[in-house]
């Protein structure tokens, strides 16, 4: 602390050369003030809090490796004949984009490694964003004051998918071309304006000659800039809100218990960047990703078996695969005023994704409206202590996963030796009943865990020691919990259903009735945490004393 100084102390002269340089810089940029403010920022320590960091670091890796790739990639769709080192494609007609991607893979020193770093980091980026969002949802971290930051996070998820998809299409290989063709089909299925949008995007009929360079501009300029902007907003809000913490002794909505950013946490976070980079680099070095040379140049006629998008687009592809073309005699295609309306493309492409993102963005306000809870929350919920929210989350997660699995239906069929049709029928059924089953099971599991917690808080831990009392009764001795552990089991909020209340005109509105019904749905079968009185009572009458007195009698009688 003494090495840093401010402009208010001009008399100070640092003793060492390094100190003098630091002081010179500090007097001009005021770094010490910033450092003092940020260095003292406290972060709670928990492994599940680090997925956001993983996402941030993956993004940094993406910027670095992506910049390398731009040196060698040429986003042109002009025709050329391949003349690189990969003989199975020698002299094959292809686009310059594909040819330069092959050159990066085979003729640029370290190019294949960098391509694989970039692609693995992209998969990891979206995966860590998703896990981060799941963590935030299931622990209730989206509640006041963090609702808007949840929305920013949702936008980041969409942007990361957009970044991934635009990048996936760039090499102009057969696989990515097939993916673009599906997107083209989805766009064209939009009523009335679909064809116009498609022609606008592709500069004419698919595939045209401009789409790769357009996607390239989006991929390296617009989308990363937006992601960066959103990350800045996201982190700024984290600083403003402070970090949430898991419940524990001494932790409440008014404090943050953890370690200051500097120096321990900063060192850890800095080191963690290199760990993430190292893991990505190892994956890139030893495991191939997107072997574009296998797929060959894009040509609208061939479609390869096993064509899938990268994992984060998989659920939308899966929804398309699940949609039946006809059900019995019922067709999903209509011609209205000369316009073809193709519901069997439009419905699966837009409705499930629309549903998932609508609920995702609205959820903080839905829960806020139902609970009428306007307090700030900085202490997280354990997922079991919010059974209905956890169940809703698992239902959504299951809905997503069924569609996700459907994107690999052909591989499920070949690798588990089952019929592709059966896989599709099962997944179609699960598409509707899977979320319902997941909701019921999760809610019951959460309630059962809460009851177990309550039982342990009241009666202590089972020791397995069986004692026979003088009058012949057998009891098992329970060991009482220490206060820290008990706090974790009893220190949570358990809201009760809020009945409908009249508004200022004395009228119970229909909306308010709906809210009350939802509140009942959320909280009616709650398990209340053990209250101090209950704990007292449990200790008063419990067998503990009987055992002790019985043992005392036993020693007396000897």
């Amino acid at each position: 602390m003494s090495a840093t100084s401010t402009a208010n102390a001009p008399a100070f002269v640092a003793k060492t050369k390094g100190g003098r340089i630091t002081d010179f810089v500090d007097q001009r940029v005021g770094g010490s003030g910033i450092l003092r403010e940020f260095g003292r920022k406290v972060f709670p320590d928990h492994w599940s809090f680090m997925f956001g960091e993983v996402a941030l670091y993956s993004f940094v890796i993406l910027l670095l490796s992506g910049t390398f790739l731009t040196f060698f990639f040429d986003p042109s769709m002009a025709e050329t004949h391949y003349d690189g080192s990969y003989t199975p494609l020698k002299n094959v007609e292809m686009s310059v984009a594909y040819s330069s991607s092959l050159d990066i893979s085979f003729d640029v020193r370290g190019g294949l490694f960098m391509r694989q770093v970039h692609h693995w980091a992209a998969l990891l980026f979206v995966a860590s964003v998703s896990v981060h969002m799941l963590r935030v949802f299931f622990t209730g971290a989206f509640r006041k004051p963090r609702e808007l930051n949840w929305v920013v996070g949702g936008v980041l998820l969409i942007l990361s998918m957009a970044a991934g998809f635009t990048g996936y299409s760039l090499p102009d290989d057969l696989l990515s071309g097939n993916g673009l063709r599906i997107i083209d089909g989805v766009i064209k299925s939009i009523p009335v304006i679909g064809t116009y949008i498609s022609f606008f995007l592709f500069g004419g009929e698919f595939p045209g000659t401009v789409i790769i360079s357009r996607l390239y501009m989006l991929h390296i300029l617009l989308v990363p800039a937006l992601i960066l902007l959103m990350i800045v907003i996201h982190l700024f809000m984290v600083v403003v809100h402070k970090h949430t913490q898991y419940p524990g002794p001494g932790r409440n909505d008014g404090n943050v218990v953890g370690y200051p950013l500097g120096p321990v946490y900063a060192a850890k976070a800095g080191g963690f960047f290199f760990i993430v980079f190292g893991v990505v680099a190892l994956m890139a070095a030893f495991f191939t990703i997107n072997p574009i040379w296998n797929y060959g140049p894009y040509d609208p006629s061939p479609v390869s078996a096993g064509t899938q998008p990268d994992w984060y687009i998989g659920w939308v592809d899966g929804a398309l695969r699940l949609m039946p073309g006809v059900i019995g005699d019922f067709h999903f295609e209509y011609v209205i005023f000369g316009q073809v309306l193709t519901l069997n493309v439009l419905l699966p492409a837009l409705v499930p994704a629309g549903l998932v993102f609508t609920v995702l963005f609205m959820y903080p306000w839905i829960e806020r409206w139902i609970t009428k809870d306007d307090r700030e929350h900085h202490v997280l919920d354990r997922p079991r202590n919010a059974p209905t929210r956890t169940a809703i989350g698992m239902a959504g997660f299951t809905f997503y996963c069924v569609m996700w699995a459907a994107a690999s239906s052909d591989l499920i069929a070949t690798h588990f030796h089952v019929a592709l049709n059966d896989v599709t029928y099962w997944l179609r059924a699960l598409f509707f009943i899977g979320p319902v089953i997941a909701f019921i099971v999760t809610k019951r599991v959460a309630l059962a865990l809460q009851r177990k917690d309550r039982e342990i808080a009241l009666h202590g831990r089972e020791t397995g020691r069986i004692v026979r009392l003088p009058h012949g009764e057998f009891i098992e001795v329970h060991a009482p919990l220490d206060d820290y552990k008990r706090y974790k089991l009893v220190g949570f909020e358990s809201p009760v259903p809020l009945p409908a209340v009249p508004n200022e005109h004395g009228v119970v509105t229909r909306k308010e009735k709906r809210r009350a019904a939802l509140s009942r749905f959320f909280f009616e079968d709650r398990v209340a945490p053990a209250s101090p009185a209950e704990l007292e009572a449990a200790h008063g009458h419990h067998g503990q004393h009987e055992v002790e007195s019985a043992e005392a009698q036993k020693t007396l009688s000897h």
Binding site: S128, L174, M283
Partner: protein, 262 residues
């Protein structure tokens, strides 16, 4: 010449002439009808092969394919499928079939090379069909790039662009093509086993087939330049890998990083 002209009035001359005429037309017809078939073989079958093959057929195949390979409700007629079909089906172990199902699975061959040869001889004797391809087409020394283009246009929609296989409807599938011998690849193309269509010599020329085999063998020999290929299954195995291995390792690190202080 003199002897021939002297015997032209011989009582059997007309019969000989008739015989010659029949042989000529029959031969021409045979050439004309099989010109489009992948007949590239010089493999010759002896009468003994055919006879032994017939015995093997009666003992092992006739249950489903019928005596004389004329077919039953359980198995199709094999008249005219040619030696190539037998060599493929028996040589890869698909026949005799393990069980009835949408498609026969590859398994260790039940007959040795000699027996397979004899069975082929027998079935080939029943009617003309594609014969076992000659060595020159199986050397995998063609043009891999041309073969790759042919493969992507004709084969990749079922077998996958990297020949990793794919699913078809109702339990049928296109198998992965790694470790399939050159001869069997060629035979599969000309006979169209299981659910595969026939690619006769008008569809894909013998030279084209040689190129396809070259392509398949070359990508197999090249291995995976980018490291372990994760089954060459594309984005699904990549996604599974990043979720399970990538994220798994990172979670292990996060637990390690936060374990000392909490």
């Amino acid at each position: 010449m003199k002897a021939l002209s002297q015997k032209r009035r011989h009582p059997l001359a007309a019969i000989a002439l008739l015989l010659m005429g029949l042989l000529l037309t029959g031969g021409l017809y045979a050439v004309a009808t099989t010109v489009n078939e992948a007949k590239a073989s010089t493999t010759s079958f002896s009468a003994n092969d055919t006879e032994e093959g017939g015995k093997l057929f009666a003992a092992n195949c006739a249950t489903c394919h019928g005596m004389g390979a004329s077919g039953t409700k359980d198995g199709p007629s094999l008249v005219g499928v040619g030696a190539a079909a037998v060599d493929f089906q028996v040589g890869t172990g698909r026949m005799p079939m393990q069980m009835n199902g949408p498609q026969a699975y590859k398994k260790p061959a039940q007959f040795n090379d000699e027996q397979t040869h004899q069975l082929s001889a027998y079935v080939a004797s029943l009617g003309p069909g594609p014969s076992i391809p000659e060595e020159g087409l199986l050397d995998a020394q063609g043009n891999a790039a041309e073969g790759g283009e042919l493969f992507r246009v004709n084969c990749a929609m079922c077998h996958n662009a990297a020949a990793a296989g794919g699913a078809l409807t109702r339990g049928k599938f296109a198998p992965a093509l790694a470790d399939v011998s050159e001869k069997h690849i060629y035979e599969a193309m000309v006979t169209g086993p299981q659910n595969m269509p026939v690619f006769n010599d008008a569809n894909v020329t013998p030279e084209g087939k040689r190129d396809i085999i070259t392509f398949l063998k070359q990508i197999e020999a090249n291995g995976s330049p980018g490291g372990a290929d994760l089954g060459a299954l594309g984005p699904v195995s990549e996604g599974l890998f990043v979720w399970i291995a990538g994220l798994g390792v990172i979670i292990a690190f996060t637990i390690w990083l936060t374990s000392r202080t909490s």
